[in-house]
Symmetry: C2
Subunit: 222 residues, 2 copies
């Protein structure tokens, strides 16, 4: 628990992020590494969701996790305790990760044996959506207490996501949250997005999410 | 309700944001306008808090609200329904407001009779903290479902805030949220920050927040 590695990632000097992201994706394909970019607002439950995900998948595939934060190493410690290889990326105040920052993290994380690499992006519903990290798939978490109207206010995040996990579904009775309306707003932004309601705390719905991830990893590595 | 004004604010071409923010603050002082910058993550309850605040203060002072969002006009409609002058600022994808964008909003909002102007910043715990908007005071909302560790992960937001409202305190029994720990983390970042637990939905604690605001406005305008 005391040996969490902290990497200070530097913002890329390269303006052509899209090109570098595509290059990184090509390399990942060649090496058989599936990279998932997990995004959400602060406190939506990214780390708890990853802990559950790792519990379900760690005996089937080799997993490595990169925890991006402006400061602290609490998330990397949590993931290490969950039994997977984990490093903390410090962004030096930056509000997102780009492809080059992601590559710096992967270089430290992967030593030949990772099949599923997960990037937990900085908690932010705006900026991370603007930068292709080189990930194979993008996932976003929207938690019930944030409200069902978030796809209206943060359009790009929902446009770039392949899958949206609606987390903290257990507390729905205590909030004015309409799941049907939320689905409708997500579909407005992105008709192809898969929507999975979950409760990372209790594990509800996480099996369905793990199934989705299994399929994606298998398709990428085939 | 149908006449919500939407202003497309453009990012400043001026690199010297701090200087322009100080100039704006000087003008506000001369004109007797108190500008509050309200920041938080998405879905922390900024608009609901403002609705409550306006209920308590609108008979005492003239209030105008600027609702900044990347898209949609739902918040400005809510504020207009609460009975105050309200405009929607669209940031064109930008994740924060700077002093010049704030001035563009104020030019539309203020026609000589606003004593308290409130800027509801873009929902984002990272970038808005980096840009002085010219506001007299900065407030942040941290809601219980986000977790008590947020001051550890988003240090700058808590450093630049004069007051932190801990919202959704009514659902604390359903989350692992330690208010004492949260206060301790906030004080770590900013020993001077005032911390006020509230529930914007029920109104709990909002009177204390309104008192704080009354004092600040009176001091600024004296």
């Amino acid at each position: 628990m005391d040996q969490v590695r902290i990497i200070e990632v530097k913002q890329s000097v390269f303006a052509d992020n899209d090109k570098r992201a595509a290059e990184l994706r090509g390399e990942l394909k060649a090496r058989g590494i599936f990279l998932l970019n997990l995004m959400s607002a602060p406190g939506s439950g990214k780390t708890t969701t990853l802990t559950r995900t790792v519990e379900l998948l760690k005996d089937e595939m080799k997993i490595g996790v990169m925890e991006a934060d402006i400061d602290s190493d609490v998330d990397a410690r949590t993931m290490a305790a969950a039994g997977v290889k984990s490093i903390q990326l410090h962004t030096g105040g930056m509000c997102h990760l780009d492809a080059d920052m992601t590559r710096q993290g992967l270089d430290e994380l992967v030593d030949g044996d990772v099949e599923l690499a997960i990037l937990e992006n900085v908690g932010n519903l705006v900026c991370p959506a603007e930068f292709d990290t080189g990930a194979v798939k993008n996932a976003a978490i929207l938690s019930v207490p944030e409200g069902d109207d978030k796809p209206l206010k943060y359009p790009l995040m929902f446009q770039v996501c392949d899958v949206v996990l609606v987390n903290k579904i257990d507390v729905a009775p205590y909030f004015d949250f309409d799941l049907d309306k939320c689905r409708e707003y997500i579909k407005m932004r992105n008709p192809k997005a898969v929507v999975i309601p979950i409760c990372a705390k209790t594990g509800e719905g996480v099996e369905q999410w793990a199934d989705w991830l299994r399929e994606q990893v298998a398709a990428w590595r085939s």
